[in-house]
């Protein structure tokens, strides 16, 4: 098993015919992802690249192509609309790659999507991959393979780095999820950890955090109470000065709270191992299952 995404997931891509949507959908298709539909308003009825039917609305993609997951590449100012449309059409898994969505929009979208019972990953995230089965988003499929480690992260390329460190040591992953670097994201560490906790294929979990907020601290407490399998952590941003935004909208330290130091200590205080760098956390994860 993997979590959230597997070979049976039927994906509709919102914003398929745009340059981002086209580029990444080709890669996802080449990986084996079942992309069954695209949505671009006023382009309904076309066939994208002679193979994927395009619809005007997500509802049409659900009704006519049986889509149950949506991958969103639309620009920031239209993204909250796209997420709400997917949730209203009954999509179960919504993955929003788009960066730069205003926080007020996400604060409004979040409770609505939750009430609909849909799972939202992102925004401002690389998506997720269940290696060997399906890839939804922009994670490069070549740097991973199937295996026993679950991975959840707030970053993009840093996630790839850790995946690659494990892969070059011969260890693959069950599912890797980038939850996104914004202040409000659809799924937090705890949402993902609770799924890994009950996934048979996942023997250990790597959590990659960064400065800002207190999600890592809460994840550590959750894992202590609810996880029977090993969890190892890595936190980026030890050298980040307070008050400066480090790229991600969420990556800003205010006062003493939200520092990398505090987060790493929260894990260590509860007995979890914390890698000092991406290489070490990969080695710790591998050691934890041997």
């Amino acid at each position: 098993m993997s979590i959230l995404l597997d070979q049976n997931t039927r994906v509709v891509v919102q914003g398929l015919t745009g340059s981002e949507g086209t580029f990444h959908t080709k890669r996802n298709l080449a990986y084996g992802t079942k992309v069954v539909a695209g949505v671009t308003p006023a382009k309904g009825g076309q066939k994208w690249e002679d193979q994927v039917p395009v619809f005007d609305t997500v509802q049409d993609a659900v009704d006519d192509a049986g889509a149950n997951a949506s991958l969103i590449f639309v620009p920031a100012r239209f993204a909250s609309d796209a997420i709400l449309e997917a949730a209203d059409a009954g999509i179960e898994l919504i993955v929003c790659i788009t960066e730069g969505i205003p926080a007020r929009d996400m604060a409004t979208v979040y409770p609505y999507v939750r009430a609909k019972g849909a799972v939202l990953i992102g925004p401002n995230c690389p998506g997720l991959i269940s290696p060997g089965k399906s890839n939804m988003g922009i994670i490069p499929g070549e740097i991973t393979g199937p295996g026993p480690i679950g991975l959840v992260s707030r970053s993009g390329t840093l996630t790839y780095q850790v995946m690659y460190e494990m892969f070059t040591r011969g260890v693959g992953q069950s599912t890797c999820i980038g939850i996104g670097g914004d202040p409000i994201v659809g799924s937090n560490f705890i949402d993902v950890l609770s799924r890994f906790a009950t996934d048979d294929e996942t023997q250990a979990v790597v959590l990659i955090g960064e400065i800002g907020g207190d999600e890592e601290e809460r994840a550590a407490a959750f894992a202590k109470e609810n996880m029977d399998k090993p969890v190892v952590a890595y936190v980026a941003g030890f050298t980040a000065p307070p008050g400066k935004r480090m790229g991600h909208a969420g990556a800003i330290v205010s006062g003493s709270k939200g520092t990398a130091q505090a987060k790493a200590e929260a894990f260590e205080a509860l007995g979890f191992k914390v890698g000092r760098n991406p290489t070490e956390v990969a080695e710790l994860a591998i050691a934890s299952i041997r």
């Binding site: 205003p102 490069p140 980026a236 790229g247």
Partner: protein, 383 residues
């Protein structure tokens, strides 16, 4: 984006939040004029984006316009915790009966808005939160419903606000919430919110942070941003759309992706070096972006070496390699060593391109940790 007090108060005024009469001034003469127009006693406040300006002598009272001129002269040009005072806000001084605290912000944990009110105002609220957390009322407001009368009642009663201030505070809190939502703020804070002798409740101070992601739909955003001075390097970065933060060290850093770049700073520090900056080039690894980035980093004279750390996902390492070489062609006078680490998509091709070019400045390292150690070693002994 964090606003200055005078900018925040302008925003308040336009959103119907009561603030003292006053105006910003950048010279003692201008301060005198503002004070003369206001008449009577005034308060002159340093406009800096750092706490503790009162203790540092950045807030002074004056009895008349001539006095305002004098104290403005003392405050302008002051250095408050590394922030130079370029402007002062001159306001009519009022009598204060009681000081409170009020704010609305984005609550990341609850994924909703959060209102906070306390009768303990005019002091460091983080200190209150640490020593007397029950003195602060906290009420989450769902963006789906917006603020309701009961939200305000809970804030006032739980926050211990005296009854005589309820009427004024209710209006102020409702207007504050509207301002928070309408301007796409991530924080609107009033500390102190005061009850005056005549029974009014007004915002004596104002702190506002705006969500950069919403700039496109906030017509006032650009003008406000223009009035906030940035350090030289950050200004250039902004013009070139580079994601750059200046730090204080000697090793320049370029990475792709915010998380990996942060991690790169950390491994350099772990290897005994000091990172000079954060620069995330994202997917923009072409020669023009690289050249702009490298040029920007070395405009900081303290920088002695550069570490380029790329993990190719969508970004292709062969493009990065070409970008670095193209950048160096545009910067022929650059002498400093550059350590490059390439992994991921087309890493082999990228490394081959750099090996073949054999540029005297460039050296390569097989892993992120090796590259960090190398960059640190190359900086040692340099002044």
């Amino acid at each position: 984006m964090d606003l200055f007090e005078y900018q925040a108060k302008d925003l308040f005024r336009r959103n119907g939040i009561p603030v003292p009469d006053g105006k910003v001034a950048s010279s003692p003469d201008a301060a005198q004029k503002v004070a003369a127009k206001l008449g009577g006693r005034v308060v002159v406040k340093a406009q800096v984006q750092v706490g503790g300006r009162g203790k540092a002598g950045g807030i002074k009272l004056a009895d008349d316009a001539a006095g305002a001129r004098d104290v403005a002269g003392q405050i302008l040009g002051m250095d408050i915790k590394g922030h130079k005072v370029r402007k002062v806000l001159v306001e009519r001084a009022g009598d204060i009966k009681a000081e409170f605290y009020a704010s609305f912000l984005l609550d990341r944990s609850a994924k909703a808005f959060l209102g906070m009110v306390s009768s303990k105002g005019g002091v460091d609220i983080e200190e209150v939160a640490a020593t007397d957390p029950d003195a602060i009322a906290r009420v989450n407001v769902s963006p789906l419903t917006g603020i309701q009368p009961y939200h305000v009642r809970r804030l006032l009663f739980d926050g211990g606000i005296p009854k005589e201030a309820h009427k004024g505070a209710t209006i102020l809190l409702q207007k504050m919430y509207e301002c928070f939502v309408n301007t796409d703020a991530s924080l609107v804070e009033v500390n102190p919110m005061v009850l005056t002798g005549s029974g009014e409740v007004i915002a004596l101070d104002a702190k506002v942070s705006l969500d950069d992601n919403a700039a496109y739909r906030q017509p006032q955003y650009e003008k406000l941003a223009r009035d906030i001075p940035l350090p030289k390097q950050e200004k250039i970065a902004k013009e070139k759309s580079l994601n750059y933060v200046k730090l204080d060290g000697r090793i320049g850093i370029i990475g792709n992706g915010a998380g990996l770049t942060m991690s790169t700073l950390d491994v350099v520090a772990e290897a005994g070096g000091t990172p000079a900056n954060f620069l995330d080039i994202g997917g923009g690894a072409n020669a023009a972006t690289m050249a702009a980035g490298i040029d920007l980093i070395f405009s900081d004279r303290k920088v002695k070496s550069l570490f380029v750390n790329i993990f190719g996902g969508i970004t292709r390492c062969d493009e990065v390699a070409k970008g670095i070489l193209g950048a160096l062609e545009q910067l022929p006078n650059l002498k400093a060593p550059i350590v490059v680490r390439l992994d991921g998509t087309n890493a082999k091709e990228g490394r081959e391109i750099l090996e073949k070019a054999a540029h005297p400045n460039i050296s390569m390292a097989p892993t992120m940790l090796d590259a960090a150690a190398k960059a640190v070693a190359l900086t040692k002994g340099k002044r």
